[in-house]
């Protein structure tokens, strides 16, 4: 499968290079849906220029990237385009290898379950075969690389591409079972933006199952593993944070980066939910609603991980989706990362109920974003409510997509345990409801 993958990579790189050379690059790098105050390339260049003038880049409200990005781009600012294309390529290859490994594990588990006769007889059509699973890794890489959202994000040189690369590497190292690398990449991802912290639970669950540690809070080995992982994770996070202190010799990157992500001072419109609320909120209630919104991101971890503790990879997918929808400054690059996983669950298509609705709404909203922005900002005949309506609709469509997949996944699992054609006690046909 190396040859088709290479072909895909070449095609993707060509598309991006072509767009870089066209006049669209400037236009795209200013779109608020693609860049946010956290990830804009303009701000990175500004921060580096400030540094050359001898001023800390964190003074003022311009630069909100971490010091490692400063170090990274200090030497690579002239090769920025190649860097971002390389980041996309790394993400795609990492996802490819991840999904290949995951498929192997899924198939192996399925084989053991079949041999142990754990499936009821009538759900054999739900069993997956290697033939249908053969092209899934390639499809995943394709979904990521040729997704218009990713291409836009790469052409805009948004550092979201780098964040995605780190998260993809984290997922790869988790799937491969390497505890240290997984902790290191997770701490890097958390260092970049705080929200991947929620992926900790999923990684823990997966690694424990891989090492055959029973996921039971009464067992000592459970807590010991958690302690090990937490030590590695927190230790590497601490080391990276301290190292960042030594780059500029001051701690003022902490309020600039993490304070900025958590307290949302910049209310530039984006495709998220924060800006409109906080633009119209009274100061008195601001802290309260800030806490509510931020807890909303982290809150879904616990119930989801309890429900999906047998399926940690699906949990990772759900968590990524929740982060992308509810984070404080989302961009289309974040969405592209979890959309790349959709081919992995393509076998759920018979249980998905809202494919048409979701795809129509997503397409329509993506098309309407620039239209309503133009009407609001340039033509003056609309106002922020119009743009926010489309933002809301877009997020609702995403939530519907995620919950639909959740429903389909759980329903398939249910069928695999209880049989495909469900009968009530008196023999009539029953329907399954997600409660």
């Amino acid at each position: 499968m190396a040859a088709p993958l290479t072909l895909l990579l070449i095609v993707a790189v060509t598309i991006r290079a072509a767009l870089y050379r066209s006049s669209l690059a400037d236009l795209i790098s200013e779109r608020v849906e693609v860049v946010s105050p956290l990830t804009a390339w303009k701000r990175v260049v500004e921060g580096l220029a400030l540094l050359d003038l001898g001023v800390s880049p964190y003074s003022g409200d311009v630069f909100h990237e971490t010091p490692l990005i400063i170090y990274f781009f200090h030497f690579l600012v002239d090769y920025a385009e190649i860097t971002f294309m390389l980041a996309d390529v790394i993400t795609a290859v990492a996802l490819y290898m991840t999904v290949k490994d995951y498929n192997k594990q899924v198939f192996r588990k399925q084989k053991y379950a079949l041999e142990a006769d754990r499936y009821p007889l009538d759900c054999l059509e739900l069993i997956r075969s290697p033939k249908e699973m053969y092209y899934i890794p390639l499809k995943v890489a394709m979904f990521y690389l040729l997704n218009p959202f990713t291409i836009l994000s790469c052409v805009a040189k948004s550092t979201c591409g780098l964040n995605n690369a780190v998260i993809a590497l984290f997922i790869l190292s988790t799937i491969k079972g390497n505890v240290l690398l997984s902790a290191v990449f997770l701490s890097l991802a958390t260092y970049q933006s705080i929200y991947p912290l929620t992926l900790c639970a999923a990684a823990l669950l997966y690694l424990m199952q891989r090492q055959y540690i029973p996921v039971n809070y009464r067992r000592a080995s459970f807590w010991w593993f958690i302690a090990q992982y937490a030590f590695m994770y927190l230790g590497s996070l601490f080391v990276i944070v301290c190292l960042s202190f030594f780059l500029l010799g001051s701690w003022d990157y902490l309020p600039s980066v993490y304070g900025f992500i958590l307290s949302v001072p910049d209310l530039t419109p984006n495709i998220g939910l924060f800006w409109y609320f906080f633009a119209e909120m009274f100061e008195h209630f601001r802290l309260f609603f800030l806490c509510v919104f931020q807890i909303n991101v982290f809150f879904y971890t616990i119930p989801l991980s309890i429900k999906l503790k047998e399926h940690p990879v699906f949990l990772i997918f759900m968590q990524l989706a929740v982060i992308s929808i509810f984070k404080s400054y989302p961009t289309v690059g974040d969405i592209a990362l979890y959309l790349a996983f959709l081919p992995v669950w393509s076998h759920l298509h018979r249980f998905l109920r809202n494919i048409f609705l979701v795809s129509c709404v997503l397409l329509a909203c993506s098309a309407l974003f620039p239209v309503l922005w133009h009407l609001w900002i340039y033509a003056g005949s609309a106002n922020s409510n119009f743009y926010y309506a489309i933002t809301l609709l877009f997020n609702v469509a995403q939530i519907l997509l995620v919950s639909d997949y959740f429903y389909a996944f759980l329903r398939r699992e249910h069928h695999l345990t209880y049989g495909l054609y469900l009968k009530r006690k008196d023999g009539s046909e029953a329907t399954l409801v997600l409660k």
Partner: protein, 385 residues
């Protein structure tokens, strides 16, 4: 060109005094201006502020009479008193009771009228930062050889002057505007006269050279109006400007009256408030500055058949100036001494390339190597060494 200007200016003094050209030529180098401008601003509107418009128009009249043409006067009147419905004598603005003197004739050119008189427009006129579509009559096209007279009147307080009953200009803003003018070489010398309550506060913050300021009252005092006219029903003039006008009526283009006489205008007995003045920023001795240096535009030409050595006179004037201004920080009136002011903005800081500290690089790469070897085993170490 310069020789001609020098020549014409020095001949002026020749005609005023005796045939002793050398003496007058020495005096002429002391002023150094070649053209005159005036910015006359009335900042109040409404009928009961009639006197402010009358103040401004009186000064306008004097300045025009003494030779400054309309093209060099920027007249800003915030309200139209002559055509106000409450004016019993339309198309007139009187400055003396019993309608003795109509200062509003048919040759008054108002450049900024009504709502155009705003703080922003005033500051833009002073600093010259006007949109390209502004006509010449609305611009202050002064250069570094211009003497400018700025006259402000209206309602003021400690540190501010009210414009149009809705906004204010502060003394700091005014001082900064003058500094901008200095750095952009927009004036040679500037005389600032203000007739408002607590007017002295407006010149407290000046810090640019070559400014002289007069105010009608000190901080904490109010400037009072002079006389009401019972037929028109409002006060016609403010006291300070009334006596200033009386003083100016005696000045003609050849007059030798100097600034020290101007400071004596309107003592406390007549004005009730104490007029103030500020000359510490002015590089010449105020006694050597003529009234006509600011209020008039003197343009007489005399022909002489004698030859005059100008360079000696320059040195002489310089020495005289150094003598009198020895206790000031400002450099003497030599062109090369303006060089510090010719680079008004600080140099852009040198573009030093920033490098990450070595400890950081070392630490980072050590960590990366550690993680790499931990993951892939120590056996790869032999490939490094």
């Amino acid at each position: 060109m310069k020789i001609l200007t020098f020549f014409s200016l020095f001949s002026t003094f020749l005609s005023a005094n005796s045939i002793n050209v050398e003496e007058n030529a020495g005096q002429f180098f002391s002023s150094g201006h070649t053209n005159n401008w005036a910015v006359l601003v009335c900042t109040s509107r409404f009928w009961f502020n009639y006197r402010h418009v009358a103040n401004t128009l009186s000064v306008y009249r004097s300045v025009k009479r003494l030779g400054i043409p309309d093209s060099h006067i920027v007249l800003m009147l915030a309200d139209d008193m002559a055509c106000n419905h409450r004016n019993p004598k339309p198309a007139t603005v009187f400055s003396h009771k019993n309608m003795e003197l109509n200062v509003y004739g048919d040759d008054v050119e108002v450049d900024y009228r009504g709502y155009e008189v705003t703080v922003e427009n005033f500051l833009r006129v002073l600093t010259g930062r006007l949109p390209p579509s502004t006509p010449r009559s609305k611009r202050l096209l002064s250069d570094d050889r211009s003497n400018i007279l700025i006259y402000l009147t209206g309602h003021g307080g400690n540190g501010f002057l009210k414009f149009q009953d809705s906004e204010e200009i502060s003394n700091v803003e005014l001082a900064d505007a003058f500094e901008q003018m200095w750095q952009k070489r927009r004036y040679n010398e500037l005389l600032f006269i203000i007739d408002t309550c607590q007017g002295a506060s407006m010149y407290e913050r000046f810090y640019s050279p070559n400014l002289m300021a007069l105010a009608s009252s000190q901080v904490g005092e109010d400037s009072l109006s002079h006389q009401p006219d019972l037929a028109i029903g409002v006060h016609l003039m403010d006291r300070y400007t009334f006596y200033l006008l009386e003083f100016l009526e005696d000045i003609h283009p050849a007059s030798k009256a100097n600034m020290k006489d101007l400071f004596k205008v309107c003592p406390k007995s007549q004005c009730v408030s104490t007029p103030g003045h500020r000359t510490d920023l002015f590089l010449r001795d105020p006694g050597s500055a003529l009234i006509t240096d600011f209020f008039g535009s003197v343009r007489k030409v005399e022909i002489t058949m004698e030859t005059i050595n100008l360079t000696d006179l320059i040195k002489e004037a310089e020495q005289k100036n150094i003598h009198t201004t020895a206790n000031l920080q400002f450099p003497p009136l030599h062109l090369s001494s303006f060089l510090p002011y010719l680079t008004p903005y600080p140099q852009k800081p040198k573009q030093k390339d920033w490098h990450p500290p070595d400890g950081f690089i070392l630490g980072l790469w050590t960590l990366i190597l550690l993680v790499f070897f931990k993951t892939y085993g120590i056996k790869h170490l032999k490939h490094i060494f």
